[in-house]
């Protein structure tokens, strides 16, 4: 039986994660024209900060209550991840101060580290263009995935299981509710920021660079700086999405594994699909597309794929339910992208003009000139 409240909470969390991620991609690819196919690596920064760094620091602070020294606590989070973090998770609900501090710490540090990685990635982004850059970022993301997967001090000793997610929202009493509220707040803040940035001089400069680099340069704008800034800010938001995802034990399935946070289908290609569907450089379009597609497709499939597959009665024709469930998401993703590209390549809400003044004022001026 499907519990509607739980379903709503989880879907809201998914919408928030995907919106932040798509908006961050929209800033890089839609507004500035940097084809970032390495979005998953910036997302993974958030996951690593929560699962590794923040958990370690929380363990070090709570070490006396766990009966180990601080130095041991730092190491035990990795070496005996499952048992030790389970013990930590029992203590955390009684420590609201520490939990809140760690949530804020994760947000700030992940955004800084994400921005730093974006700054590193802007080195090729300044020197390469178009498809070369896309390939470069995609391989960088895959390379980092391999690095993280097999480095025990980053992702733990078993790559498939990963790190147990810390229970930083345990103190609220109703963690699923409050994680989704937190995710929603983060998504709304992102929306407000992106919306105001779209119309700001900075946003217009980003799009000017995308449309015509040479004329922007001729007008005295530093194109390299613009592209670098887009990579830094955009990547910081992608890391934020990673934090929002990893803080919710229900969306992560209680463990943060390299396999899940570096997954290029979930965290690079789905955001691309959502961005194209919504309309590149159209913040509202991306928000709308994310809400609709995640609420109707991604969320239900990710959460209840076995049940959905059973609805189709595929066993009758000899198809395994588990395989069908896996195939379903890929078919939907592929068909959705192709339909958008063929039928509506500019998205459901094409890129809006920027309203630098209030709409009434612009109409008034226009009327004055018509008269």
């Amino acid at each position: 039986m499907v519990n509607l409240a739980v379903m709503a909470e989880q879907i809201i969390s998914f919408i928030a994660v995907y919106y932040i991620l798509s908006a961050s991609l929209n800033m890089k690819a839609g507004m500035t024209g940097i084809p970032d196919f390495g979005q998953a690596m910036f997302f993974a920064v958030g996951g690593i900060v929560v699962g590794n760094l923040a958990t370690r620091i929380a363990a070090v602070i709570a070490a006396p209550e766990l009966g180990v020294t601080r130095g041991e606590a730092w190491k035990l989070v990795i070496t005996q991840n499952t048992d030790f973090v389970a013990r930590l998770n029992e203590i955390l609900p009684h420590k609201p101060g520490l939990s809140i501090a760690m949530i804020l710490f994760s947000l700030v540090i992940a955004m800084i580290l994400g921005g730093l990685l974006g700054w590193l990635a802007s080195y090729p982004a300044l020197r390469l263009r178009g498809d070369y850059l896309a390939i470069m970022l995609l391989t960088a993301s895959e390379g980092l995935r391999v690095l993280a997967t097999y480095t025990v001090s980053i992702m733990g000793s078993t790559p498939t299981v990963g790190l147990t997610a810390p229970n930083f929202f345990g103190f609220t009493g109703n963690a699923p509710l409050w994680t989704s509220v937190f995710a929603l707040i983060m998504a709304l803040l992102t929306y407000v920021y992106m919306e105001s940035f779209h119309n700001s001089p900075g946003g217009r400069l980003f799009r000017a660079v995308r449309d015509d680099e040479e004329s922007a340069e001729a007008l005295g704008k530093d194109v390299a700086k613009v592209r670098r800034d887009a990579m830094i800010i955009g990547s910081a938001f992608a890391a934020l999405a990673g934090v929002v995802f990893s803080l919710n034990p229900w969306t992560t399935g209680s463990s943060i594994a390299a396999q899940s946070i570096f997954d290029r289908v979930f965290w690079t290609f789905w955001p691309w699909a959502l961005m194209i569907l919504g309309g590149m450089a159209s913040n509202r379009g991306v928000g709308l597309a994310t809400t609709i597609v995640v609420a109707l497709l991604i969320g239900p499939i990710r959460l209840y794929k076995q049940d959905i597959a059973r609805l189709f009665h595929v066993q009758a024709v000899g198809i395994d339910v588990g395989y069908f469930a896996n195939a379903l998401e890929y078919i939907l993703l592929g068909v959705l992208i192709l339909l958008v590209l063929l039928i509506r390549p500019r998205g459901i809400i094409p890129e809006p003009p920027s309203w630098t003044l209030k709409k009434d004022k612009i109409k008034e001026i226009a009327r004055k000139y018509q008269a």
């Binding site: 690819a29 084809p35 090729p124 300044l126 020197r127 390469l128 263009r129 178009g130 498809d131 070369y132 896309a134 390939i135 470069m136 995609l138 391989t139 960088a140 895959e142 390379g143 980092l144 391999v146 690095l147 097999y150 289908v265 290609f269 691309w272 699909a273 194209i276 000899g318 198809i319 395994d320 395989y323 069908f324 896996n326 195939a327 379903l328 890929y330 078919i331 993703l333 592929g334 068909v335 959705l336 992208i337 192709l338 590209l341 063929l342 390549p345």
Partner: protein, 360 residues
């Protein structure tokens, strides 16, 4: 010298060379990096396994494991026809998958004047659809049981019946290493002849270097592009056929809907880029080189430093190779060859034009 590792490297390098060749060919003609390329080879491999198993059961062929003595002593488990059928079906499967991609997805988008980004994303979408098809197919026809039918000992097909014994007992060249390397050499020669010795090759080079001019001169550029998709699909199918033979090399998992395409995609693109994305022969060399470094060199670094675990990180090398070549030698091996090794009065050849997007 560890012969076994070297032979594995040869198979893996050949597979990468074949995949890189396809990626490069598509990039040169259609100007898109085909992300679905490794999946095309999986599609070929799936069809090949099915066909081989059906042929064996249909004809009731029993494996024969006795060693035959001769000038070249060999073990003949299955008649050659089984393997030939497998290879042909793999090639046909690759071609079918590539043709579907070109005619149903990329051509409509090209006609609409889509930009490189839209084309690239469309290839990704096709990749997912193909993966889903393989998922569904795998449930109908259990690939593992088919493999068991073909080869009783393992979960992969192998060519061991076609091993080449040079001085029996001292040096054995496994069949898969022998044939994959031979195939790469044959394809290299065939493409050289096609491009430089036939009229069709002249048309092809003209369509690549200057499509509008070629069109004015009465060449059907779209047909030439379709031809390049056929070659690309065929080589992808062959690569898939050889991946089946030795899935254990380079940490690849046994064949399934997701693997090894998901793991090999970075290495295949690395081969294409290291070769210089606008050079066909460069891509063959680049694929071989990447395969050699990933397997052979990391193996010896692992032995020398005592860190056996280093082989797990082999795919990071591909990432660095892509980065270094794109940033510092965007023309790849072909460009380096032209700069330092080629005889000065270079005859006009493929990929001569400067790539505008290489440096910003």
């Amino acid at each position: 010298m560890n012969v076994n590792i070297l032979m594995g490297t040869l198979v893996y390098g050949s597979v990468l060379a074949l995949l890189s060749l396809g990626i490069t060919l598509i990039y040169m003609t259609t100007k898109v990096f085909n992300f679905a390329h490794p999946r095309l080879s999986l599609f070929g491999a799936y069809l090949a396994i099915t066909a081989m198993a059906a042929y064996i059961t249909g004809k009731g062929i029993q494996p024969d494991l006795t060693v035959h003595e001769g000038i070249i002593p060999y073990r003949l488990a299955y008649p050659a026809s089984v393997y030939i059928i497998g290879a042909v079906v793999a090639i046909v499967g690759g071609i079918i998958a590539a043709m579907v991609e070109y005619y149903l997805i990329l051509k409509p988008l090209l006609d609409r004047g889509s930009d490189y980004l839209q084309l690239m994303i469309a290839t990704l979408a096709y990749d997912f659809i193909l993966m889903a098809v393989l998922f569904l197919y795998n449930t109908h026809v259990k690939i593992v049981s088919l493999l068991n039918k073909i080869n009783v000992q393992s979960t992969s097909v192998d060519f061991s019946s076609y091993d080449l014994y040079i001085m029996k007992g001292y040096l054995t060249i496994p069949g898969d290493a022998l044939y994959s390397t031979l195939i790469v050499l044959i394809i290299t020669a065939a493409i050289y002849i096609l491009l430089f010795k036939t009229t069709l090759g002249v048309k092809m080079r003209a369509s690549i270097e200057n499509p509008p001019l070629a069109e004015v001169l009465g060449i059907n550029v779209r047909r030439i592009y379709a031809l390049s998709w056929i070659i690309s699909g065929a080589t992808a199918g062959l690569a898939g056929f050889f991946i089946m033979m030795r899935p254990s090399v380079a940490g690849l998992k046994p064949i399934s809907a997701t693997s090894p395409a998901d793991e090999i995609v970075v290495s295949a693109f690395a081969g294409s880029i290291v070769g210089g994305v606008n050079s066909i022969f460069g891509s063959l060399a680049g694929g071989m080189l990447i395969g050699f470094i990933e397997v052979y060199v990391t193996f010896f670094i692992g032995i020398a430093t005592g860190l056996g675990a280093i082989t797990k990180y082999s795919r990071v090398i591909s990432m660095f190779a892509v980065g270094l070549f794109l940033l510092f030698a965007p023309q790849g091996l072909a460009g380096l060859y032209k700069k330092y090794l080629a005889p000065p009065p270079a005859a006009p050849e493929l990929g001569e034009e400067e790539h505008e997007e290489g440096e910003g």
